[in-house]
Amino acid sequence: MKPSLFDYVAPRSVDEAVGLLKEDSGAMILAGGQSLIPAMNMRLASPSRLIDIQNIPGLSHITIGNGKIAVGAMARHREVELHDGVAAANPVLRAALGHVAHIPIRNRGTVVGSLCHADAAAEMPMILVLTGGSVQVAGSDGGREIAAQDFFQFHMTTSRQPDEMVVEAHFPALPPGAGFAFEEFTRRHGDYAIAAAGCILTRNGAGAVATVALAACGVSSKPLRLAAAEQILAGSRLTAADIKAAGDAACAAVTAPGDMHATAGYRKHLFATLVRRAVERAAARAQ
């Protein structure tokens, strides 16, 4: 189980990296490598060129400001997870990061790398969708910001162009008084989600739902916002009936395909449960 041969380059600037990407359509960015290298070892991926970005200055930052958390392309999962400013600005990141593989993987793997890998069952893409975040890309024609819902196209496919590199991810801070929850089920600790649901919710003075975001992973070909369920919950007093209706609506909105770890029927049943639990837990945390 050894990787096939590639051309290795370690640029010193984003511009240089983008130039190297443009030169070779088979090139891939190497950041933490925790998804890419296993795929290469199994020869499921054989990039012709690896562009190692670890020596590019200014990509390892985690900054909080302007209502958002900015995570540089070389910031590791574990650094984001342990960052107290991140936890204060939006605790749903830490809650979700605890489910990303295991600590030695999180020590190396990067949040932006996980977003670019875009596994449909992965936690961080779903968190980007849930929080309404975005990614900043640099390309040969300059930069652009891509909103989460536009970025994720399909399992392991994003709208990043071949000559573009994601340099930063933006996760909006939690709205004031908001409650949050991240509910995931795996058969084994640290594995990709069989299904997961995230919720961010605020309540008005009367206790009814003022704003709500619900998102899911593992149940579709990409991370999803659950708009129909959100509509049911908007303005709701969170009765058991409303929460159940939201769970059912969430289920109706996902394909929840069967695989070796879960039948389609079980995955839907599980997902409805996780959505309910996420809403209940977020509501309990909301002020």
């Binding site: 189980m1 370690a10 925790q34 190692d52």
Partner: protein, 180 residues
């Protein structure tokens, strides 16, 4: 290959492009010219002869190849040697004293029968060590220790004795009152 027959001419090395890798391993600076695709696990084992780091799956699940890189546990099978340039690596070989006296964590594994075949053990120990030596306080509850161990597969022990070993080592390694 019978005696008296001319030995066949066989290749000595691959055509892979080489790259210079310079890093610190167990406190010693090393420089080697290796293939760009050489995994750090193979580099440590076969270039440096540090065969204590084992290889169990080469896709990041089993943790047998875990080493400590810049103070943090990492999978050496999911890192190219070239990526480790300029970094500080610690492997299992760095733990015991030169006279062979075991590190308290190693000793705890023996005392608690925390190993059987011993294949997963070096990776397991390097992962635990990174926690015991970190500034963050570790959770020694059953669930807390299991969480630390998750990410390292052991097929022999059923983990129970490893959990005891972690607690025992944490106890032995904790600064005693009056010290520090």
């Amino acid at each position: 290959m019978a005696r008296g027959k001319i030995k066949p001419k066989l290749p000595q090395s691959s055509d892979d492009p080489r790259v210079s890798v310079k890093l610190t391993v167990n406190g010693e600076e090393v420089t080697r010219e290796v293939s760009v695709r050489m995994l750090l696990s193979d580099f440590l084992r076969h270039e440096l002869g540090l065969t204590g780091t084992h290889v169990g799956c080469e896709h990041g699940i089993c943790g047998a190849c875990t080493i400590v890189m810049d103070g943090k546990a990492a999978r050496s099978c999911l890192t190219f040697a070239v990526q480790a340039s300029g970094r500080e690596i610690r492997t299992i070989e760095s733990l015991a004293d030169p006279d062979g006296t075991l590190h308290p964590l190693q000793q705890a594994f023996q005392d608690c029968h925390g190993l059987q075949c011993g294949y997963c053990t070096p990776g397991m120990i390097m992962n635990i060590l990174s926690h015991l030596e970190s500034d963050t306080e570790i959770d020694l509850s059953d669930a807390g220790v299991r969480e630390i161990l998750a990410g390292n597969l052991c097929r022999c022990t059923g983990y129970q004795n490893i959990i005891s070993a972690v607690r025992r080592a944490a106890d032995h390694m904790a600064p005693k009152a009056g010290q520090e």
